[in-house]
Symmetry: C2
Subunit: 352 residues, 2 copies
């Protein structure tokens, strides 16, 4: 009952039609370049210019209602807060989405949220008629996706679907780790220690597996005395590496489970009077900003393909959406994205 829109009288397709002296159908046709439809070049131009002059903005809600598709994709993230990495996933997803004229709707679940809360979040997205859903988790091995996700195409980031029906993408940590070992071997190192994380997550295994594979590829026998583990923080890295380095036959290089532990390794080396990289080479994993570039010497490490996983997710999602309702799919193996090693200054040739 209050006065209507004194501010900006929203202009709809009808207004354009009226101003251009055609029907709304025609306006819709020309503005969307609807195929199999005929309109003279003259009226096309007229409609377009009128639309521009009036400042027409289509109402995507209305369009979505009619076309049964929202051009939105939902990103369900699990604790974006804990890891700065998550930002890069969002960025990758966002940019790929923009490329397809889609927009991203984001909902964040707390890590400790129950299954019901998570399902409620999925429902919230589905109510919004998203065309697809990305479920991004911190690195879990397997997860059973809320069954509401079955209502709509979905992909998984950082986890495998227990039922094996939803496509998933993961970082190829093992290969990255193996490459890193190869780099060290190439620099002449043979006594390469591994400072592992003491808590068990899939990443742990991948990195350890890659470390061992790297050794094997180089024909270096495994030496369990060179493998130690600690809390996956700077303090843990310090303690672990202190122990590894404080021996007569100390390693010439240490592969740390992550960059934070590598920071601890730097300190351990320093306290023992060892210089990095001259006396001992140190490498990390994660390429965690801003650590890796800020420590001295700058840390050689392995980057995780967060951006790429985000982009991959919306790319395959759009493929799924297009092929949807005709062919259905069963996800075979998860997609593994490469983890490139980024070379900085913490590795030196082993001249011993």
């Amino acid at each position: 009952m209050p006065d209507e829109e004194v501010v900006v009288p929203k202009v709809g397709i009808r207004d354009v039609a009226r101003a251009a002296g055609v029907s709304v159908t025609t306006v819709s046709h020309v503005l969307n370049d609807t195929p199999h439809t005929r309109t003279s070049e003259a009226t096309r131009d007229r409609v377009r210019s009128v639309a521009r002059d009036l400042g027409y903005t289509p109402n995507r809600l209305a369009r979505g209602l009619r076309t049964r598709s929202s051009d939105m994709i939902g990103l369900l993230t699990e604790e974006i807060a804990t890891t700065p990495h998550a930002g890069r996933i969002i960025l990758g997803a966002q940019e790929e989405a923009s490329r397809h004229n889609l927009t991203l709707a984001i909902i964040n679940s707390h890590l400790d949220a129950g299954a019901d809360a998570r399902r409620a979040d999925a429902r919230a997205l589905i109510e919004r008629q998203v065309d697809g859903i990305i479920y991004a988790t911190v690195f879990h091995h397997e997860v059973s996706v809320p069954r509401e996700l079955r209502a709509v195409p979905a992909v998984l980031i950082g986890a495998l679907d227990r039922q094996g029906v939803v496509p998933a993408v993961l970082p190829d940590e093992a290969s990255g780790a193996a490459d890193l070992v190869a780099l060290l071997v190439g620099a002449g190192h043979r006594r390469i220690a591994f400072a592992d994380s003491s808590i068990e997550v899939p990443a742990t295994q991948g990195r350890l597996v890659g470390y061992l594979r790297g050794l094997e590829d180089a024909g270096i026998p495994r030496d369990d005395r060179l493998i130690a583990s600690g809390e996956s923080e700077a303090a843990g890295g310090y303690a672990t590496c202190l122990e590894l380095l404080d021996r007569a036959d100390r390693p010439t290089a240490i592969f740390c489970y992550n960059d934070r532990m590598a920071m601890g390794a730097y300190r351990a080396a320093q306290e023992l009077g060892l210089r990095v990289p001259d006396d001992v080479s140190i490498v990390g994993f994660d390429d965690q900003a801003p650590i890796a570039a800020s420590v001295h010497p700058a840390l050689t490490t392995v980057a995780l393909p967060h951006y790429e996983m985000g982009a991959w997710a919306v790319a395959t999602l759009t493929r799924l959406i297009q092929s949807s309702s005709t062919s259905w799919y069963r996800s075979t193996h998860p997609t593994l994205l490469p983890c490139p090693v980024v070379v900085r200054e913490s590795v030196a040739p082993n001249n011993k």
Copy 2:
């Protein structure tokens, strides 16, 4: 023309109505608890249980079309990539949004994007009929908001509206810096240096202003020989602090422009054989994860209220939306959110 939805026959409000033996009107009324409407307790229960059994999910597009509101708010971010901080803004906004039953649609502009690209992004959100828009920038002093933002309530994060019409929120860097100085003064320090950033951004000024105010409050005269500047990275902090510390009358504490520079300060101190914090206290700014907690000794610093700004933004936006169309507002002063100092281990009493 392919077979219709063999998978999941979407259930709409009509299906619920039919199954419950009532009209869609009634279903709508009970499901929304529409006020000033009368329905017997019996039918209410029946409708609700039928809806649950059928697994009814309302179509928010349709609802939005009718109610002229989408319950979505758009977050326009400028280069979420560069700063890990951005993630916390998103998180704060997201959680506050969830609290109000809103969902966040995110679009990211590149920092180097032109004004047109930025306006296109704003339009994309408006087409989606978002109820409001948050424009989050990296810390700029003033910005002229795309005029499409006038079509809908908007708030600014990290910048001021040049026209002074859009409410804005900023971190109160000056007070945070002053508090930090007060902490140092309280520990007995009087020769407190400031390692400034050499590039000019609003944050620079705020922190410097706060530093000076802190000194003044303590009755310590300003000494320009204690103020130096360098690149706002670890390397710059190293160079700057090396110079500050390598004097006979060296400061007993250094306030670094940010945590990365503080990392450099640690290295400078170490190379000069000075222990932190025993020989020199060092503080930073930003509370940047994971640096601040990972360095040794852990860094005392000031946290930026990113989460809080995100939450503030959607909170005031919802207020704006509710009061909209009735009262219009003119933003007075920007809101300043406190930057709490977080005490760790890099400050020691000055016993000299």
